[in-house]
Structures are given as structure tokens and as C-alpha cells.
């Protein structure tokens, strides 16, 4: 068994090729990756969920201001046009749902610009699946089943924590009603250094508190599902109206690491178009690129997408949990610096 060359590389452009040709992951880990993929496909085959493929490169790009696409160009048909590498296969998969395909899953590489760190890599393996006619609550149970099987830990306990209670109980702020200044003050009180010079909006402060003070404690020895997010963080989840409206969205954490994000899917065309518009306005305000939104997807929603739930799970991080890796490079054959 040959082991890898160490988990961490940086600044590959300056590295000697003879020092970086080897895989970063051990061959044993690469075999574990193959086993995880095979087991995942078996899991869905048993449950009658169909594997699909959708385009990696598309004319439209993600609108989410927190996610940046990589772009390439396609020459053909009398000129060239930009094509965006998908950041998730969500929209075309929903077009398949609207066409009546039934439950589906996809395993694919997705791409996100600017993301690099211990848990981030600009291209990574995503497992995404959709269950028409299923609630996001039921889907959380299926996610737990899949993760337990992947880790070989059938008895791994599960907890569900509402986003609001999590913040109220562990940090003492209310994500819905606390003033932005109060969130900022709390971040400073909790010793998040540098907080005083940060210019953040409400969701930015909540994210800061989440990643610094809440995430590290989530999923310790169990699967922690955080659910019911502020409507401003709905992404493509349905918002449940009420005195305190919540986005029907969940995130799964294991040992402080975010593994999956799921929605009770938004199926309303007008609401979806409004969210795209909000995203693009936010992008303009922040001086970010304003890519074309997916009009074809909106047409599919107009035709009618069945109610249901869907989830995206980071397979590299799941593999990290399976083999006990601390850095994502330990589970990748060739991280970007060696690519």
C-alpha cells in the first residue's frame, strides 16, 4: 500500500512537478471512495430512485449571491457563447421532475469559484436527490439512513434542532427578531475577533455566529439536522407562512461539518422568479457578476412541478467522515494545486 504525499498542498504553481504528481489521497482512501459510490448507487437502486445526468455546462448560472460560478466558452453555431459550470444540478433535475420522471438522484462534480479551504475545494462531488410527494421531514430520515449506511454506523443517533431555538438557546439571540446591532454586539461579546471591523447584513451576522460558535458543536456523536430557517435564507425552499414564517429548509451536520442541505421545494413559478430577481438585485448592489438566470427552469415550473423535497449532500465530506480525514485534500486524488 502506497500512502499519499501528505494531506496539504498550497501554491502548486511553484511546486516541483516531481513532487506533486502523486495523489494527495492514499490509495486506500481512493478505494473507499469507489466503495462509497457503489454503495450509494445500490442504496438508491433498492429504493427505486432513478439515476440521471444533466448538463454540467449551461447557458444559465446560479443566482445565489453567496455562490459564484466558473465559466467557460463554447465555440460553435457561428460564434461563441459563455457556458457556466453548474454549482449544483438542481434546476435541470427539477425540469425532469416537472416532466414527470418520478424520484431521481444524481452523482456529479459541481464547481464553485473562490472556495478553497479545509472543507472546500473548487470542484467537488455532489449527491443530489429528489422525492416527489415526500416532505422534507421524511427526507431527513432518508438522509440519515444513507449516512448511517455510508459510515457503517446503523445506530448513529439523530437530533433535530430548529434554527431559531438553536440560536436562542445557545447564543441568546433571536434570528427573527433581534436587531442587527444586537447580533453584532453578541458576536463581539463572544470574542469573535475582527467582528468590530466587519460590515455585514443580518444574515451575514447570523452566518458569522453560526460558523464560529454553533457549527463546531453540531453533530457531535450524532447526526444533527438544523431545520426551519429564516425566510431570507430560504434559497429554493418553500416558505411556510404564519406568525413566524419559516423557510422549510434543513442542513445536516456531523462532527461540526455541514454535510447536506435540503428543501421542501419551492414549486411556485412567480415566487421563484421573485427570488431570482432579489438575488440579482443583491448581486448588483454588491458589485458581483450578474449572470443570466434559468428561464427554461421557470417555464418548467409554470408547466407544473410536483410538490416534494430534495437534498444535496457533499460526498467528499461524507468520505472524510468515513475514513476519518480532517482535510478535504486527504480524500481527493488531485486537489487543485496538483490538478
Amino acid at each position: 500500500m502506497t500512502s499519499g504525499q501528505g494531506p496539504r498542498t498550497s501554491g502548486g504553481e511553484g511546486l516541483d512537478p516531481s513532487g506533486i504528481w502523486r495523489p494527495a489521497a492514499s490509495l486506500e482512501t481512493l478505494r473507499a471512495r469507489a466503495a462509497l459510490l457503489a454503495e450509494t448507487r445500490a442504496f438508491f437502486a433498492e429504493r427505486g430512485v432513478l439515476e440521471v445526468e444533466t448538463p454540467m455546462a449551461s447557458r444559465a448560472a446560479a443566482s445565489d449571491p453567496a455562490i459564484e460560478s466558473l465559466a467557460t466558452r463554447w465555440s460553435g453555431q457561428g460564434g461563441w457563447q459563455p457556458l457556466y459550470l453548474h454549482t449544483s444540478p438542481e434546476l435541470p433535475m427539477k425540469r425532469l421532475l416537472a416532466a414527470g420522471i418520478g424520484p431521481i438522484y444524481q452523482i456529479c462534480k459541481v464547481f464553485r469559484d473562490g472556495e478553497r479551504g479545509r472543507l472546500h475545494h473548487p470542484e467537488f462531488s455532489m449527491l443530489e436527490w429528489y422525492r416527489p410527494g415526500t416532505s422534507y421531514g421524511q427526507l431527513m430520515d432518508e438522509v440519515a439512513d444513507l449516512v448511517r449506511r455510508a459510515l457503517g454506523r446503523p445506530d448513529l443517533a439523530l437530533e433535530r434542532l430548529a434554527y431559531r431555538e438553536l440560536f436562542r438557546e445557545r447564543i441568546g439571540v433571536d434570528p427573527w427578531s433581534s436587531e442587527v446591532a444586537a447580533l453584532r454586539d453578541r458576536a463581539l461579546e463572544l470574542g469573535i475577533s475582527g467582528g468590530e471591523s466587519l460590515d455585514l447584513d443580518r444574515d451575514g451576522w447570523l452566518d458569522l455566529l453560526l460558523v464560529h460558535r454553533l457549527e463546531p458543536g453540531l453533530g457531535r456523536g450524532c447526526l444533527s439536522f438544523v431545520h426551519d430557517y429564516p425566510p431570507s435564507q430560504a434559497a429554493l425552499a418553500r416558505v411556510r407562512p404564519g406568525s413566524v414564517p419559516v423557510a422549510e429548509r434543513f442542513e445536516l451536520y456531523l462532527e461540526g461539518v455541514e454535510l447536506a442541505n435540503g428543501f421542501q421545494e419551492l414549486t411556485d413559478r412567480a415566487a421563484q422568479e421573485a427570488r431570482f430577481a432579489t438575488d440579482l438585485a443583491e448581486r448588483r448592489a454588491r458589485g458581483l457578476p450578474v449572470p443570466p438566470v434559468d428561464r427554461v427552469f421557470l417555464a418548467a415550473l409554470a408547466a407544473g412541478m410536483p410538490e416534494g423535497s430534495g437534498v444535496a449532500l457533499g460526498l467528499d465530506r461524507l468520505l472524510m467522515a468515513r475514513v476519518g480525514a480532517r482535510h478535504i485534500d486527504e480524500v481527493l486524488a488531485f486537489p487543485i494545486e496538483r490538478a
Partner: protein
């Protein structure tokens, strides 16, 4: 003024924070899948040596610190300042006690030191990894004891005190590792 974006952050990068020069020790990218990205960095204050944590919004920029290392020869101490010379240009510079710090107890005249300059002024001075110094005072050890176990304190010509084996005597030259402050061996001139 040069500046760096958080995407350029890496260990060793020199940046300005609150008017002081810092060196990045560790840079961590953290981001909720659907949310704001941050760079959580550990930085060393190059004036005080203190390491602190600092969080930036990813994409923010920070001013670069004009900090670089140069090798200089230690000339003499005038009672208040330490005088150094660039062996290539013969340009001379003075460093105060804050910049020299603990290094004062290891260097003697003509030693080559690593001087870190900030805006052209000495910020810190590091001694060579190994120095050879004369013992000015140590208790006479027992004759014939070569075990080296235990040892005894010895004062060196620069004022530093190191533990030496019992067989090493006053007036002898010894080699010391300045990074650990430990005796390495006897030395010849």
C-alpha cells in the same frame, strides 16, 4: 498602497492591522453552503510577537505591510541602541531594545543577524541559529565527570546563562543553539 485580497491569504503573508504589521500564521476558509464566506486567520503581531485570531469577510482587502528580512552584521551597542551594518552596501542602522529583545543575550560583535525591516526600520532582530561564546563564569565541576547528567549553569560573555555539562570550565568556548537556548558542544576559536 499595495493590498491583498483574502483569496491571496497564506502563511507568511505580511499585512497591516490597526496600524501594526502582522504575519499570517494560519488562514482558514469557512463558509456555510448557502451563506457568507469568511477567512478566519491567526496572525502574529510582528512588534509584540503575540498571536491573535481575526475574521475577515471573504473578498475584503487588507493593506500589505512593507516588511522584509535582511542579513546584517552586528557592530556594537552604544548603551542605548544596537548598531548593524548591511555587509553589501555598508549602510548602517540602529535598533532599539524592543526590536532586539532576547537576541541581545546571544550576539557579539560581527555576528550576522536576520534583521526584519518594517518601512525600512528594524522591527526585530534574530540571532544566528548557532553561536560560539566564551564562558565567563561557572562552578568548577568534579574532575573526571563526563556523564553530562545534570549539568550546571554557566554565564556567557554576552550575559546569557545556559546549562552546560560539569566538565566544561570557565574560559572555554561553547556552541549554543539560540532557538532552544541549549548547549550543543565545546567549540574551538
Amino acid at each position: 498602497m499595495a493590498s491583498y485580497s483574502t483569496s491571496e491569504f497564506k502563511g507568511g503573508l505580511k499585512i497591516m492591522l490597526d496600524g501594526d504589521p502582522y504575519s499570517i500564521v494560519e488562514n482558514e476558509f469557512v463558509k456555510p453552503g448557502k451563506g457568507q464566506a469568511f477567512n478566519r486567520v491567526r496572525v502574529r503581531n510582528l512588534k509584540t510577537g503575540r498571536v491573535v485570531e481575526k475574521t475577515f469577510k471573504s473578498g475584503d482587502t487588507v493593506e500589505a505591510a512593507d516588511v522584509h528580512d535582511t542579513e546584517m552584521q552586528y557592530l556594537y551597542n552604544d548603551g542605548e541602541f544596537w548598531h548593524f551594518m548591511d555587509p553589501q552596501s555598508f549602510e548602517q542602522m540602529t535598533a532599539d531594545a524592543t526590536a532586539v529583545g532576547e537576541t541581545a543575550k546571544w550576539v557579539k560583535e560581527q555576528d550576522l543577524c536576520k534583521v526584519t525591516l518594517w518601512n525600512g526600520q528594524p522591527l526585530s532582530v534574530e540571532p544566528p541559529n548557532f553561536v560560539v561564546l566564551t564562558i565567563t563564569e561557572t562552578d568548577p565541576g568534579l574532575k573526571g565527570d563526563t556523564s553530562g547528567g545534570g549539568g550546571k549553569p554557566a554565564t556567557l560573555e554576552t550575559g546569557a546563562v545556559v546549562r552546560v555539562p560539569l566538565f566544561v570550565q570557565t574560559g572555554e568556548l561553547i556552541r549554543v543553539d539560540t532557538r532552544t537556548g541549549e548547549y550543543v558542544s565545546r567549540a574551538k576559536e
